[in-house]
């Protein structure tokens, strides 16, 4: 096995890794700005300097030459090398800033130069707190500056496109954003304009930065030069909690983080998953945070006097639900699941109604033709189409579901987007009694006779199966109105600290939604109807699914967490498009 010595320690390697990536992979650190593991290494920030040498080999027999002490003779490269662009070779000796004064000095020098024209406006900069420049300046930078002349001034508050705002003075010209549009999204919309210390990234004159993946440049910007127009000045990084979750606006199951302050989801950022989305997420998915905060259904709603919806109590809602069911036979009840809801929600719905006597379960896939690309956008608009299918819900066309609704007396609808995406019109559900389990106020929920508010992905732990058959799960990121011990149990794992939760001194009651997980409501319903089915927390529901539904064989929350999602066997990409 080829070997390399970094700061005197021996490491083995395979293939031809680049030195910086190898150092990072082995848990050591070298500061850098321009390098990004998914893109080419331009070696332009000159921050990742290390000292590199190779052992002297005898030309004839290829053996290493040794000095008097029996140690290998090292031939040092005359100049320090940028580790991001240096390829590892067998026997290489590397000194980082930890062991070499020269390297530490060089890194400090570069840092001093980077900072001379940087505005140092951290107190008003959105990047502060998660800024590689800020962090590395504290770690490796000079204590002060010897720069006593005027800084360069460049354009500020430039709207590059609908979603990205540029502050050119903060830019350190790492070209990550430019390379992103060249190498990842392929739109080539950004370039560097001007020369020397006047340069900054910009679009071609008259062009907008409307790349469907544009906000990723904000995420990879190592300073606060590119900021999200939507998020800028809304919250400081250290005031928010970061909770892992899944994107619900598409079928790809892009891994995201929810950033929450005072029970409001402030923004979504991509979370690395090599199997799904790498470091990226589409811009469209970034708007999903609004779904978690705005226009939520809070407290059950019931229709009185024709079309008039009024708030009602949970008891009354449950009673109305149960009485409605008791008034009809199971064959008159149409249960419609949803690809927008999780596996656990659909399962608990199906379980209770099966025990009660309903045999057929339907859902209508949410597909927009020609919407997908070869990257992270999919034709499938729902996060869990494969999951609902695997549970045994039958996909229906618009006409089929309309006919079914016509012959039903009661419709239990988990999907809150039916009217909104024109599967049916509000006229089609005039006749039957419609019970909608809804997260948000939609055209559908407004037309329903009874609305049960349910938790959204930001409030519960639940799993979703993406278009490729990969099951991944969410964590509760914000609290519901009333203390919910079962949800809190999962939350303690999801949130790093408890800012804004019931455990926090600064708890804020204003932004909590009065809703419940579907399985909790199904528990109550099943008790009320005298049925023998009881659900625990979603973790236990998944264990139950794994033992009863063959597609989910071997799936558990532990495995999903350890393996960053599980590829389900038996679900392939072909099935989805068919």
């Amino acid at each position: 096995m080829p070997e390399i010595f970094i700061d005197g320690e021996r490491y083995e390697f395979e293939g031809k890794p680049k030195l910086l990536q190898f150092i990072l992979d082995n848990g050591k650190e070298v500061p850098f700005f321009c390098y990004h593991p998914e893109m080419s290494a331009p070696a332009n920030c000159r921050q990742c300097y290390v000292k590199v040498g190779t052992p002297v080999q005898n030309r004839e027999n290829g053996e290493y030459e040794l000095d008097e002490d029996g140690k290998r003779v090292i031939r040092w490269f005359p100049k320090m090398q940028t580790s991001c662009s240096t390829e590892i070779t067998d026997g290489m000796v590397v000194l980082t800033q930890e062991t070499s004064e020269e390297v530490a000095r060089a890194q400090k020098d570069t840092m001093e130069l980077i900072l001379i024209n940087h505005p140092l406006d951290c107190p008003i900069c959105d990047q502060a707190g998660e800024c590689p420049l800020q962090i590395q300046t504290y770690k490796y930078g000079p204590e002060g500056s010897r720069f006593e002349v005027k800084k360069v001034h460049k354009p500020k508050r430039v709207e590059l496109g609908p979603r990205v705002t540029l502050d050119a003075e903060r830019c350190i010209n790492c070209t990550r954003c430019v390379r992103f549009t060249e190498e990842i999204s392929g739109t080539h919309q950004l370039t560097i304009s001007s020369r020397g210390d006047k340069n900054y990234p910009i679009t071609a004159p008259g062009m907008e930065f409307d790349d469907p993946y544009s906000v990723n440049t904000v995420d990879i910007c190592p300073v606060g030069a590119l900021t999200s127009t939507d998020f800028r000045f809304k919250a400081r990084v250290w005031e928010m909690n970061q909770t892992p979750s899944i994107d619900i606006t598409g079928g790809k199951g892009t891994n995201v983080d929810l950033w929450v302050r005072d029970n409001i989801v402030m923004r979504l950022t991509p979370r690395f998953n090599a199997e799904v989305n790498s470091h990226w997420m589409p811009d469209a998915a970034r708007d999903a945070y609004k779904l978690f905060n705005e226009n939520r259904v809070s407290r059950p709603t019931i229709k009185v006097d024709g079309d008039n919806q009024v708030k009602t109590s949970w008891n009354n809602a449950l009673e109305t639900f149960a009485e409605t069911l008791e008034g009809v036979k199971p064959k008159d009840v149409l249960v419609i699941g949803s690809a927008h809801a999780s596996v656990e929600e659909n399962y608990s719905l199906m379980k209770v109604f099966s025990t009660w006597g309903v045999n057929d379960y339907y859902f209508v896939p949410d597909v927009k033709e020609e919407f997908g690309d070869d990257f992270l956008l999919t034709d499938d608009q729902a996060p869990n189409t494969n999951g609902v299918k695997a549970l045994g819900f039958t996909a229906q066309s618009t006409d089929e579901i309309k006919a079914a609704i016509k012959s039903a007396k009661v419709v239990v609808l988990l999907d809150g987007t039916f009217i909104d995406r024109e599967v049916i019109s509000s006229k089609d559900i005039k006749k039957p009694y419609v019970i909608n389990l809804a997260t948000n106020q939609t055209e559908t929920s407004i037309a329903a006779d009874l609305v049960i508010p349910i938790t959204c992905i930001a409030e519960h732990a639940a799993s979703y199966v993406n278009v490729d058959g990969r099951i991944q799960r969410s964590f509760p990121a914000k609290e519901t109105k009333y203390t919910h011990r079962k949800l809190d149990l999962e939350m303690s794992e999801g949130r790093l600290d408890r800012h804004g939760t019931n455990f926090d001194n600064w708890v804020n009651e204003d932004n909590k939604i009065d809703c419940t997980p579907v399985w909790e409501f199904m528990n109550d319903l099943s008790k009320r109807l005298g049925l023998n089915s009881e659900f625990g927390i979603s973790r236990e529901i998944m264990d139950e699914i794994a033992s009863s539904v063959s597609a989910f064989d071997g799936v558990s929350y532990e495995r999903m967490d350890n393996e960053n999602g599980i590829q389900l066997t038996g679900i392939s990409k072909e099935e989805v498009s068919a």
Partner: protein, 427 residues
Amino acid sequence: MAFDWKSYTPVIIPDIPNLHEIDVYVQNGGYESLKKVLSNDWTPESVVNEVKAANIRGRGGAGFNAGLKWSFMPKPDGGPRYLACNGDESEPGTFKDRKIFEYNPHLFIEGALIAAYAMQVTTIYVYIRGEYRSWILMMEKALKDAYDRGFIGKNVLGSGFDIEFHVTGGAGAYICGEETSMLESLEGKRGYPRVKPPFPAQKGLWGRPTTINNIETLACVPLVIKNGADWFSGIGAEAHPGPVLYGISGHVNRPGVYELPTGIPVLTLINEVAGGMRNDKKLKGLIPGGSSTPILRGDSLEGVNMDADSLREAGSMMGTAGMIVMDEDTDMVEMLWRISHFYHHESCGQCTPCREGTGWLEKILIKIKNGDGEIRDLDLLIDLCSQMEGRTICALADAAAWPVRYTIDRFRDEFEARCKQSTYALA
């Protein structure tokens, strides 16, 4: 060694009227060298070896043996291979290639074709400084004539050798004279130097093997083929032989481009060839090879010759042989500021030390120039030079730092006279 420069007969820009016209060039023995190598007894390897033996040291500034550079090209694999001819000539004080474009373009074209044959390249690009508008047009005309005569194109002179030849103009960036950013510019991209390795011989234009040569270097090639490697290496200084175009500018009576052998004493060039100092002033300083080469004091030039070794001993470099002569009235602070201003303006902005450092150098020099500088600013300038030298992808940071370092080192008294006492020491 007293060399009788007056008896030297120019060979790169010989005194023949209308030599830029192809008929005149052919009448005077033009394209004979090309015919010679394309005849059966010259293999590509033998051409490379002949040029290697002649020891043509690159005239673009680095002074690397051209034949040796050619031998770095990998073996042909059937794909495209390129020769990129560097006529960007943007180093201040350098204006020699312009003379070749103007007076003897076909000598360069012939040299490039021979080089193309030796390295078996498929396409030649000549990259000419964008400001040289008329010389770009002249080169296009010369190429068209050569195409018409069958010196370029398919099956050149019936030998079975195919070659294409294109002219490209620069867009006004100094950095595009750096070989890898010239390749980027030729590809139609922004002129950013590339990280090496891979070197252009492995991955050059569009990822294919490419060799980059200076115009003057290639113009020497037909002469080597015609007269033999021994003839060429016998001219001028032993380790740095051949005829060179000296571009002399500044405070002399007759500035201009002079073709003479290497190794001519610097003082002979200034006092005799260029007609002596203007207004009989004293020589204060000399930049021997373009603005980035370290300045030499006027009183240290006795016995210094214009070749790589002698200039290295004196503490400078041959560069492009673009000599900038300065008389006793020159303000060194002002001069250095002007050079720093140039490098600040021309830094491409890719690497941190150069992008930020060049601007900082200039701003401190402005401060000193305006009388606001302190002695410690001089130490800061030298310190900044160490922070820039050798820490960037290309050599522009070195080119920007050396003038500062050596001008302050060699004329420190003048700088100190402009500075106030430091209020506190340099941190």
